[in-house]
């Protein structure tokens, strides 16, 4: 028996309405984000003739299907237009706030929530999207849910959960220049596997995590799901509190003072116990790229494509062989020999202002050898990047600067990689066909994608960043 609690335990406790004997708990949901893809859940609600329990805690964002070109004009594709208008109709019918297609605050849900100050330390946040773990960067229990659960949250503002295992990943030391949060995430996933954090609540800690900006923490927490975790989180600190100051929906004045006092409690106690603990030396992390069709297929850029003949097991060998066939790669070839056809900078993983700055640092004054798309994480990020002149750097390098949305992360809006083409991408999933049928995706950080654009192949971004950081 111990009174020492982890950060996760504290948030869990604060949300528990009812604990059932079988181990399931009914938890209160502080924020519920919905998007065009939530149509199945709204239909379920309609079938039951039910209304929204807490419209003021529900926020909608048009992101998954929105076109990134021709904003302001009517959507040409009728199926996509229907997805966007269905969300608008549901917002109007149920009375929740929507950041719709033409709203200046529109963007990817996991970028908009934090940006608007809707994401606050100590909250429980749900969304019908697996990368809801992103919000954990603020010390939030944020997790993705399926349509049945979305309907449940809409109808009751609560969710049934079994308490996940508690896991801590500590990144100790200092990241080398040119190494980013994306590299930290791919590093642990490559080490532990896509089911390495299966169902767990991960707390990221250690000096290298403390040193990360909110943008970096969001990238790290975003990718928790790729390691199989339920959620990832970072204890809030002065970096968090500074980020939240004057955000539109964040507490102001006396309410902020009260909130700050509560937020200061959101740390794991010194004696708190975790079911599993992993320590990683941050100083040893190099820029990483993926070579296969799962985020665990990740290696430092200095390495070579794995050889199935040297796999640990037969099933492992089969998997590598199938990946290499799909990716059209030779075992043993240097990762830096892989030529790309195009690049993509975008998604809730890596399209915040800091990500765009990192890519621009590589691209400034250089030309891209391959075409590419840059889609900022939100319309506000887009505006800020334009104020900083980053858009000109991208355009002068030969890349296309488009509007905000999920875009080529998932290709639902029509931004896809053509069959057989190879894309260096800042996104989160290199699954077969994720960026379009037959598309080949290599995941990496924004600076690494920019370096691939400039050289036409996968390459270490660090020499290109010399004197620029």
């Amino acid at each position: 028996m111990s009174t020492s609690l982890t950060l996760f335990d504290k948030i869990w406790r604060a949300h528990e309405i009812h604990a059932r004997e079988d181990g399931a708990s009914l938890l209160f949901v502080d924020r519920h984000f919905v998007h065009e893809g939530s149509h199945h859940a709204f239909r379920k609600l309609a079938e039951r003739g039910q209304s929204l329990a807490q419209p003021e805690l529900t926020f909608g964002v048009a992101d998954h299907y929105v076109p990134t070109r021709g904003r302001g004009k009517a959507i040409a594709d009728p199926a996509i237009a229907r997805m966007v208008s269905t969300l608008e109709e549901n917002a109007a019918r149920h009375g929740f706030r929507l950041f719709g297609l033409d709203d200046p605050r529109q963007g990817i849900v996991h970028v908009v929530g934090p940006e608007q100050g809707l994401t606050l330390p100590g909250l429980l946040i749900n969304c019908g999207d697996s990368h809801t773990s992103t919000h954990g960067a603020f010390g939030v229990f944020g997790f993705g849910i399926g349509a049945t659960e979305v309907a449940h949250v809409l109808a009751t503002q609560t969710i049934w959960q079994k308490k996940p295992a508690r896991m801590r990943i500590r990144f100790e030391g200092t990241l080398a220049p040119g190494v980013a949060a994306k590299d930290m995430a791919l590093n642990w996933i490559a080490r532990l596997g896509t089911d390495g954090g299966r169902g767990a609540a991960i707390e990221y800690a250690g000096s290298a995590v403390r040193a990360l900006s909110m943008e970096g923490r969001m990238t790290l927490c975003n990718l928790s799901i790729e390691g199989g975790a339920r959620c990832g989180m970072v204890a809030p600190d002065t970096t968090t509190f500074a980020y939240l100051e004057n955000r539109p929906y964040a507490p102001q004045g006396a309410a902020r003072e009260q909130a700050l006092a509560a937020w200061a409690e959101l740390v794991s106690d010194g004696q708190a116990e975790f079911d599993r603990e992993v320590v990683i030396d941050a100083g040893e992390i190099a820029p990483i790229v993926t070579w296969g069709t799962s985020p665990e297929d990740a290696l430092p850029i200095s390495e070579s494509v794995p050889d199935p003949a040297r796999a640990a097991s037969e099933s492992e060998a089969t998997r590598i062989r199938a990946s290499l066939e799909y990716m059209d790669l030779r075992p043993g070839m240097k990762l830096s020999e892989i030529a790309v056809d195009q690049v993509f900078i975008g998604s809730c993983t890596n399209a915040r202002i800091e990500d765009l700055r990192a890519a621009a640092a590589v691209l400034a004054g250089r030309k891209a050898k391959v075409p590419g798309l840059v889609s900022p994480g939100s319309s506000l990020v887009k505006r800020q990047a334009e104020e900083e002149g980053l858009d000109r750097i991208f355009v002068e390098a030969g890349l296309e600067w488009v509007a905000a949305g999920c875009s080529m992360c998932v290709g639902m809006n029509g931004d896809i990689v053509a069959p057989g083409k190879r894309c260096a991408s800042t996104t989160n999933r290199n699954f077969r066909g994720r960026q379009g049928p037959g598309a080949r995706t290599h995941l990496m950080s924004p600076a690494m994608v920019a370096a691939a654009a400039v050289t036409g192949h996968l390459t270490d971004a660090r020499p290109l960043l010399e004197g620029r950081l």
Partner: protein
């Protein structure tokens, strides 16, 4: 959703690791209404070549797999996105259970919400079952066993999920019983932590 305890049916093998939800249903199909049925989208891009013709030697295209209701696969089945459409595709294609060494967390929850059993077995048992596919087997939720011929294999599933599958519970109905507790909780939270409510919204 109706509950069930025993199921007997034809099992088909999908001997791959990391069959993610993007494979189970590619994103481009998900704007379709469920009423049209999602079964034809199941594993679409693995089952068909670039011209849309079925790939002959893909396990699910095997005439011997016709009418299969149990799928056996390798580790990390259903990893990836939260799309419940992945479960709709399986359920609408007639599947009642998936057997694998590990599952994507959100996928498994979605499966249970649609009466589809995600049964966890050891790597060795998965291999043994794969070797026996296509073939008949029986799943017993009460005993947590899978019977294939002479072989009886135990599987794991969270007890909460097991009860839910057996009873066919609907969470919204269950939650209604706690309406008063929820109201009280909200009042208390609002009084103690008013900052939780978005600034400038509502009262």
């Amino acid at each position: 959703m109706t509950g069930w305890t025993r199921h007997q049916g034809l099992a088909v093998g999908l001997p791959f690791e990391n069959v993610d939800t993007d494979q189970l249903i590619p994103a481009r199909f998900m704007s379709a209404p469920r009423s049209e049925g999602y079964g034809r989208f199941l594993l679409h891009d693995l089952r068909h070549d670039a011209n849309g013709a079925p790939i002959r030697d893909f396990p699910l295209n095997d005439p011997g797999a016709e009418g299969a209701s149990v799928l056996v696969a390798r580790r990390n089945f259903g990893g990836g996105s939260s799309r419940e459409a992945a479960v709709y595709a399986l359920a609408d294609a007639g599947f009642r259970a998936v057997i694998a060494p590990s599952f994507g967390d959100i996928f498994a929850g979605n499966a249970v919400n649609n009466g589809l059993l995600p049964a966890r077995v050891s790597e060795a048992d998965a291999d043994a079952l794969l070797a026996a596919t296509p073939g008949d087997l029986a799943v017993d939720l009460e005993a947590c066993t899978i019977t294939a011929g002479e072989r009886v294999i135990g599987f794991e599933i969270d007890p909460v999920w097991r009860t839910k599958l057996i009873n066919g519970w609907d969470d919204i109905d269950l939650t209604r019983a706690h309406a008063q507790e929820i109201t009280d909780f909200i009042a208390a939270r609002r009084a103690a932590r008013p900052w939780v409510w978005p600034h400038g919204v509502g009262s």
